[in-house]
């Protein structure tokens, strides 16, 4: 069963010692670099990526080939490729796992992608907390360089590439691409106003492409097997496979590579994947794409509003808009059973966004703190009924009015939790003593699956 599933990123991860250059090379590694540099022009590589239809795996889901084709190419100005390894979304841990398990896959992808974009200097920006991953990557880069896959005149093709790893300072906001570039330049990680977009003025005011770790790691497979083969996997405009970080009350949490289009029901309950909800409990709610995306009640997640099975794909997950849908996001799949308190969870997310707001623009700086304080009050039994409408109103005033998407990311979980779990918020307000008791479970009107 498992062997039939297409494996693009995880086909070699089970091999012992795959983090070393020799083992990786013996198992067919760096063949994409050889193929691209020796037989393909940069434009042909871009064309293959376009054909594959692969979409950015960092959260926004923007087609990667299209992003690459937007890159401005003025004469005499260097271009940069920056890999965004600042994965800090609560619930998402796929890039971390990929980088530490098979660092050479990322480096191979970086070489191929840099070649396609004409970048001679590229950076991997890794989250500050993951210093050991930085060391793994640096060791892998040194190995690749010693073998002639990095540096001057790679494989005699005349193409030069220097690859650097830069640890961040541990701020969530530096995962936003323009804040990442500011941070990489050595400045305070404040997002920039857009336009201009990084494709025109990015790192050091030069054209830059910023891609997620998983997106870049995919490119070597696309070069080896062709864009059409990649596009054959998946469903509709959601092509290929996606790493999902499954966590929460599941029997088998972990990182899974799924073909897009897999039914959500199968992903949660099949033994091949998460194996269902822990014994004796039922699924209550799911945050399907990392903490920023709207939370959905179990029933709404499994079936769309029109009654069809919901699939793990960009389109199906967002079916119905925010009224009945959510988003693919970065693939942080957090499942909660009936013991989880939605109010507490929402407060926890809010606390995170309050802590991580950069403080540059006023709606996010002030609004995230306000929402956190109000949610803290409700969670601890001091809320009042008008607090619920207040939260909805504050979320509405943050959403869409900020410089970067952190404002939206902070507003959506709150707005969606109230949209779908208003009863539970009201219960916290009307029955504070009951609700604040340790181990309290909301038994009000709600559909468990």
């Amino acid at each position: 069963m498992t062997s039939e599933r297409p494996k693009i990123l995880t086909d070699k991860t089970h091999i012992p010692g795959i983090e070393t250059f020799d083992v990786y090379r013996k198992n067919g590694g760096y063949s994409a670099v050889e193929k691209a540099l020796k037989t393909m022009t940069p434009d042909e590589v871009v064309e293959e990526v376009k054909k594959s239809g692969v979409r950015g795996r960092g959260g926004a889901g923007f087609p990667m080939g299209m992003k690459w084709s937007f890159l401005a190419k003025p004469e005499g100005v260097p271009r940069y490729l920056v890999c965004n390894g600042d994965e800090s979304e609560p619930g998402t841990f796929k890039d971390h796992w990929l980088m530490k398990t098979i660092p050479h896959l990322l480096i191979e992808g970086m070489i191929v992608s840099s070649y396609a974009l004409g970048a001679n200097t590229s950076y991997i920006y890794v989250r500050g907390e993951l210093m050991y991953v930085v060391r793994i990557l640096e060791k892998a880069i040194a190995e690749a360089k010693a073998a002639g896959f990095l540096g001057k005149n790679i494989l005699g093709s005349g193409y030069d590439l220097e690859l650097y790893v830069q640890p961040g300072g541990g701020a969530y906001i530096c995962g936003e691409e323009t804040a990442l570039l500011e941070s990489l330049e050595g400045k305070r990680g404040n997002p920039r106003n857009k336009p201009p977009f990084p494709a025109v003025k990015g790192l050091y005011q030069c054209p830059t492409v910023v891609n997620n770790v998983e997106s870049i790691a995919t490119t070597s497979w696309i070069v080896n097997n062709g864009g059409d083969a990649y596009a054959a996997i998946g469903i509709g405009r959601s092509t290929g496979t996606k790493l999902i970080s499954a966590s929460g009350h599941l029997k088998k949490p972990g990182v899974y590579e799924i073909p897009l289009g897999l039914p959500v029901q199968e992903f949660i309950y099949s033994d091949e994947w998460c194996g269902g909800i822990r014994d004796g409990h039922h699924l209550k709610a799911v945050v399907a794409g990392g903490s920023s995306v709207p939370i959905l009640p179990a029933a709404m997640l499994l079936k769309t509003a029109s009654g069809e099975d919901r699939l793990m794909s960009y389109e199906s997950l967002s079916d119905g808009g925010f009224a009945t849908g959510t988003m693919m996001g970065s693939g942080g799949f957090i499942a909660m059973d009936e013991t989880a308190c939605v109010v507490k969870n929402t407060w926890n997310f809010s606390r995170f966004y309050h802590h991580e707001s950069c403080g540059q623009c006023s709606p996010c700086r002030e609004g995230t703190g306000w929402m956190e304080k109000v949610l803290h009050r409700i969670e601890h039994g001091h809320g009042s009924m008008h607090d619920i409408d207040l939260l909805v109103d504050v979320a509405k005033k943050i959403e869409g009015n900020t410089i970067c998407p952190l404002g939206d990311a902070a507003a959506w979980p709150v707005a969606s939790a109230i949209r779908h779990f208003r009863d539970e918020f009201e219960w916290h307000i009307t029955h504070p003593q009951e609700a604040t008791r340790p181990g309290a479970i909301f038994k009000g009107h709600m559909e468990l699956v």
Binding site: A171, N193, Q360, C361, S362, E366, G367, T368, G369, G400
Partner: protein, 366 residues
């Protein structure tokens, strides 16, 4: 390039921002700006007070923009149609921005030196609501001295970054910046180092609120009791063009001159600002022109001598009697919201009568 803002069309140079185009039309349609400051490069886009709705992107591509855009950094396109004061969503969002900016602001206007010339006061009077829904504790900071002449009262700060840009661009070495994140971010000089620079005093002028104040003027007077006078001197370091603020015969404060948007025209040096406090140091040019709506002008300057501004003139020239003998009951006439009506007509009293008379006189002359 033609751009239409609130149904008024104006011709502007390419590269003009929406805010600048709106300012050309007049203050009634100009969006408020709490962080944007024309003399400072890279300022703007942070406070979100100037968000406007673009209902048509350009002649070529007349699709509306999906989100509200910050008018201070968005350049106009030919044929762009912008809604500012006529758009419900914009006004609602602006109310929200006032509320956000006031969340952690102490509202200690009665003891604040900036009161009367505070942009946040003006902004909240014009666009805010009277009550707050915020019940939680506000964030506070200790007061800090930035050198002998400047005091930083971070609690009042709205993090517009203007002083950071000033310190970066006007003064030589960069010792002034922002520490920490989110609502605990604070302006600081790394770390509590005095800004030892000849032009450091300009951070006081650019501050829209009372977070950075002049220690030589602190608690000396309320700004509406003082008389501003334009003056200049032969200064080796700066242009020497300043505004002196008199109480009786005494110069109690020296600031740079500002335009009608509260932006400094020419930055001045610390010697002019903090040390030249005698009339004998200066050549007096005459009283500073102060906008009539400002509290500084209260009862001092003849309102009837001020020519009505563009939008008022426009309103007067387009004024038609609605009772011109036709049945208007079928028309869907939308009344101006009362607040806006109040803004157009000065408050009651002698000056109000004079103001209306001046509009009517002007219209009659036409």
């Amino acid at each position: 390039m033609k751009v239409t803002i609130d149904n008024i069309t104006i011709e502007v140079e390419p590269g003009t921002t929406i805010l600048q185009a709106a300012r050309k039309i007049g203050p009634e349609v100009a969006p408020p700006a709490m962080c944007y400051y024309e003399p400072l490069k890279a300022s703007g886009g942070k406070c979100r007070a100037c968000l406007v709705k673009v209902t048509a992107g350009s002649e070529k591509d007349p699709r509306p923009m999906p989100k509200l855009v910050p008018s201070c950094i968005t350049q106009v396109q030919d044929g762009m149609i912008v809604e500012n004061t006529v758009n419900e969503q914009v006004l609602e969002t602006r109310k929200g921005i006032v509320e956000f900016l006031l969340l952690n602001h102490p509202l200690d206007c009665p003891i604040c030196d900036q009161a009367g010339e505070c942009h946040l006061q003006d902004f909240s009077f014009q666009h805010g609501v009277q009550q707050t829904r915020y019940e939680e504790e506000r964030r506070t900071f200790e007061k800090q001295d930035l050198g002998p002449n400047i005091q930083l009262h971070m609690t009042r700060c709205i993090l517009c970054y203007r002083c950071v840009f000033t310190a970066d661009q006007i003064t030589g070495n960069r010792v002034h910046g922002v520490l920490n994140r989110g609502d605990h971010a604070e302006i600081s000089t790394y770390i509590e180092k005095a800004i030892d620079n000849d032009f450091s005093g300009n951070v006081i002028d650019v501050c829209p609120v009372g977070a950075l104040t002049d220690k030589t003027y602190r608690f000396k007077n309320r700004v509406w009791f003082t008389k501003p006078v334009d003056a200049h001197c032969d200064c080796e370091k700066c242009s020497g063009k300043v505004t002196l603020w008199y109480r009786g015969d005494e110069v109690i404060r020296v600031t740079a001159r500002k335009n009608q948007w509260g932006e400094v025209l020419e930055f001045i040096c610390n010697t002019c600002r903090f040390e030249r406090k005698n009339t004998a140091d200066w050549t007096i040019e005459g009283p500073t022109k102060v906008a009539r709506h400002s509290v500084i002008s209260a009862n001092k300057y003849g309102a009837n001598k001020i020519v009505p501004e563009f939008a008022r003139r426009l309103a007067a020239s387009q004024y038609k009697d609605v009772h011109e003998g036709r049945d208007t009951s079928q028309l869907n006439i939308k009344q101006l919201p009362e607040e806006r009506f109040k803004q157009l007509i000065p408050p009651a009293g002698e000056s109000a009568v004079a103001g209306i008379r001046s509009i009517q006189n002007w219209a009659d002359d036409k």
